[in-house]
């Protein structure tokens, strides 16, 4: 069941109220990031930083050990008797790979945590969703999986917030 609002403030107020009334299986859909709405539905932390750190450390270890292995074991070069394990020279590529792996993990980790790419989502069945969710409308969705859900009651509940419309989504 989705309710459509014209302004972000209306959405945030409705989301706060619904969260306070015990709704948990809910989500907001906005055309740009509305931090207050995420706060309102109790979404404070995400795992993207963790994924990024893990990626960065992996890149660092991968490149530094590759360089060390090549320079000391696989293809040691004796240049005027200088040490083969010349770690200061290895820093630059290791640094670049730290950033490369961390950056790729941040982007693809974000997409994976979001469950994207996805070819289908029931929300797109709602007639008014595609018209506004990525343009200038703000949606609050109370999902049928929530124990408090009941078609008639939820509709009345959402209508009490004074939205532009309330639509039941095929699912």
């Amino acid at each position: 069941m989705i309710a459509e609002f014209d302004t972000p403030s209306d959405l945030v107020r409705a989301a706060q109220a619904a969260y306070k009334d015990g709704w948990r299986r809910m989500d907001c859909y906005t055309p740009y990031p509305v931090e207050e709405a995420a706060e309102a539905i109790g979404f404070h932390k995400n795992k993207v930083p963790l994924v990024t750190v893990v990626g960065g450390v992996m890149g660092l270890c991968a490149m530094f050990s590759l360089e060390t292995w090549i320079a000391t074991l696989a293809y040691p070069l004796n240049i005027g008797g200088r040490p083969t394990y010349s770690w200061p020279a290895f820093i630059v590529p290791a640094y670049e790979w730290t950033i490369l792996f961390a950056g790729l993990s941040a982007c693809f980790g974000m997409l994976a945590l979001n469950g994207l790419p996805s070819l289908y989502h029931p929300l797109f069945n709602a007639p008014n969703f595609r018209g506004g969710a990525t343009d200038d409308k703000f949606f609050l969705c109370l999902e049928a999986l929530d124990p408090k859900f009941d078609v008639a009651e939820t509709r009345a509940y959402l209508e009490s917030f004074g939205p532009t419309s309330v639509v039941e989504v095929e699912y």
Binding site: T7, P8, S9, V12, R13, A17, K20, D21, D27, C28, Y29, T30, P31, Y32, P33, V34, E36, I41, F43, N46, V48, P49, T52, G56, M63, A71, Y75, L77, S86, A89, V92, P93, E96, W97, I99, L100, A102, G103, L104, A106, C107, G109, M110, L111, L113, N114, L116, P117, S118, L119, H121, F124, A133, T134, D135, D136, Y157, S160, F161, G162
Partner: protein, 463 residues
């Protein structure tokens, strides 16, 4: 100017709504019409880009002997152009990453096409070292991979560091750019009327639906990528400067190179953003989104980085004297008054004398025609900076018996001019088929996006 509704500095022209922003930006892409002007520009740029195809084909057939590179100037146009193009790219990353970290909201209007500029500049730049290696079909030997020859790359060489720096830079720039466009692809998908556009942008948008949970992860990822791209962009030009600074040639072997290369890169990059932004806002009527304040701010950044570059030049001259090295001193004298001294004075005029005296004046910084002119002058000047560094350091080094000169051939010019055409072609395709201004970030800055604690209407029962 303070916006009365939000109490913040106003960057965008007033009177815009979420809907008008979407319409303005999306319709440039979604209109089925092909404007004659765009087609004309595309065909001109495309023809110029053919030059690079011809020049590179001939190069592959004949080898690098068709260029002017020989002893003592073994690095010529290819390296000059490589450094110049990469430098131009850096402003895009600076705008998208560093200014995001500093919460400079005004960047939101220009960051997308600045990032696109980065990628296309890196495309042009990356080509040069590859075609310069002599046997470009073996360029993959630069990468460490197990092979039957049982040899591995030499990780102590700055030239190999370059491979990793530039390839990482290209990858991260593309990822950052694409990730930034995902929500806008969603908007285009929902707004498109033709079936093909719906499929095309639908695939690119990977099913984005604007859930705030997604948005929060997306915001975190953008911030992290910005935080990663910032040290990356500084390291890339630093590593490129190591290509020179690690060598012992007078004029190259100096510690001022890394910071001065980075500042110079940002200087020329901002000039290129202006070169692109000024015609774009005019042609697509985006004056409300890319305002005079943007142009003014970019002028200020150019002034700041230009002064760092001026300090770099000053330090080079100072060290030539202070080092008490005969070779350093001669290099500087030769650079200024030798047979190629003219190039040094072109550089001083274009990078220092003209821009750093006029950019102080606010009236001139907000004069659009003047800023366009200055952007072209600075880009010329920065090209000459690389020319001076590469050629005038090499052509008269230690032994007078090995002195020579450098005279670029028609193939050098054809390759260089061709990449200008390639860059323009890619950019024209970008403005026509991809959203050139991030809609979601502009919407965030509109006064209507401010969350008000309680409006008099529409406050419901659960409030």
């Amino acid at each position: 100017m303070i916006d009365p509704q939000t109490g913040e500095f106003r960057v965008l022209a007033p009177g815009q709504t979420f809907k008008s922003v979407t319409a303005k930006i999306a319709d440039i892409v979604l209109t089925p019409k092909l404007s004659l002007g765009w087609l004309a520009f595309l065909s001109i740029a495309g023809s110029v880009a053919m030059l690079v195809l011809v020049a590179v084909t001939w190069l592959f057939l004949k080898g690098v002997g068709i260029w002017a590179i020989t002893q003592p100037v073994a690095w010529g146009f290819a390296i000059i152009n490589f450094v110049w193009w990469i430098g131009i790219g850096h402003a895009g990353t600076l705008i998208s990453a560093i200014l995001l970290l500093f919460k400079q909201g005004w960047r939101n209007s220009i960051n997308r096409f600045a990032e696109a500029m980065t990628i296309f500049a890196v495309v042009c730049a990356g080509m040069f070292p590859l075609i310069h290696v002599g046997r470009p079909w073996l360029a993959y030997w630069l990468f460490p991979y197990p092979n039957t020859m049982n040899v591995w790359p030499q990780f102590r060489s700055p030239l190999l560091w370059d491979v990793f720096a530039v390839s990482t830079y290209a990858t991260i720039s593309i990822v950052f750019w694409y990730m930034g466009m995902i929500p806008d692809f969603g908007t285009l998908r929902d707004r498109a009327t033709s079936k093909f556009a719906q499929y095309f942008y639908g695939l690119l948008s990977v099913g984005w639906r604007g859930s705030v949970r997604h948005w929060m992860r997306y915001e975190t990822a953008s911030l992290l990528l910005a935080g990663l791209a910032t040290p990356l962009v500084l390291s890339v030009h630093t590593v490129i400067s190591f290509d020179f600074a690690v060598a012992v040639i007078p004029g190259w072997h100096t510690t001022i190179f890394p910071p001065y290369f980075v500042a110079g890169a940002i200087y020329s990059g901002f000039a290129m953003v202006l070169t692109l932004a000024i015609p774009l806002r005019h042609v697509f009527h985006l004056e409300g989104l890319v305002t005079e304040r943007h142009i003014d701010n970019m002028g200020k950044v150019m002034l700041g980085t230009g002064l760092i570059v001026a300090y770099g030049y000053g330090m080079e001259v100072f060290m030539a004297w202070y080092s008490a090295s005969h070779w350093e001193f001669f290099m500087m004298w030769n650079r200024m008054f030798g047979p190629m001294g003219w190039s040094y004075w072109v550089l001083i005029f274009c990078n220092i004398a003209f821009p750093l005296t006029t950019l102080w004046v606010r009236k001139l910084r907000t004069n659009i025609a003047f800023m366009f002119l200055i952007s072209l002058i600075v880009n010329t000047g920065m090209w000459f900076e690389r020319f001076v560094i590469v050629v005038t350091s090499l052509y008269r080094d230690f032994l007078p018996s090995s002195w020579g000169t450098y005279r670029a051939t028609k193939w050098d010019y054809a390759t260089y001019v061709g990449t200008l055409g390639l860059f323009t072609t890619l950019f024209l395709l970008f403005v026509r088929f991809l959203p050139m201004i991030p809609m979601n970030e502009i919407k965030m800055m509109l006064p209507a996006a401010k969350i008000t604690p309680k409006a008099e209407t529409a406050a419901g029962a659960g409030d």
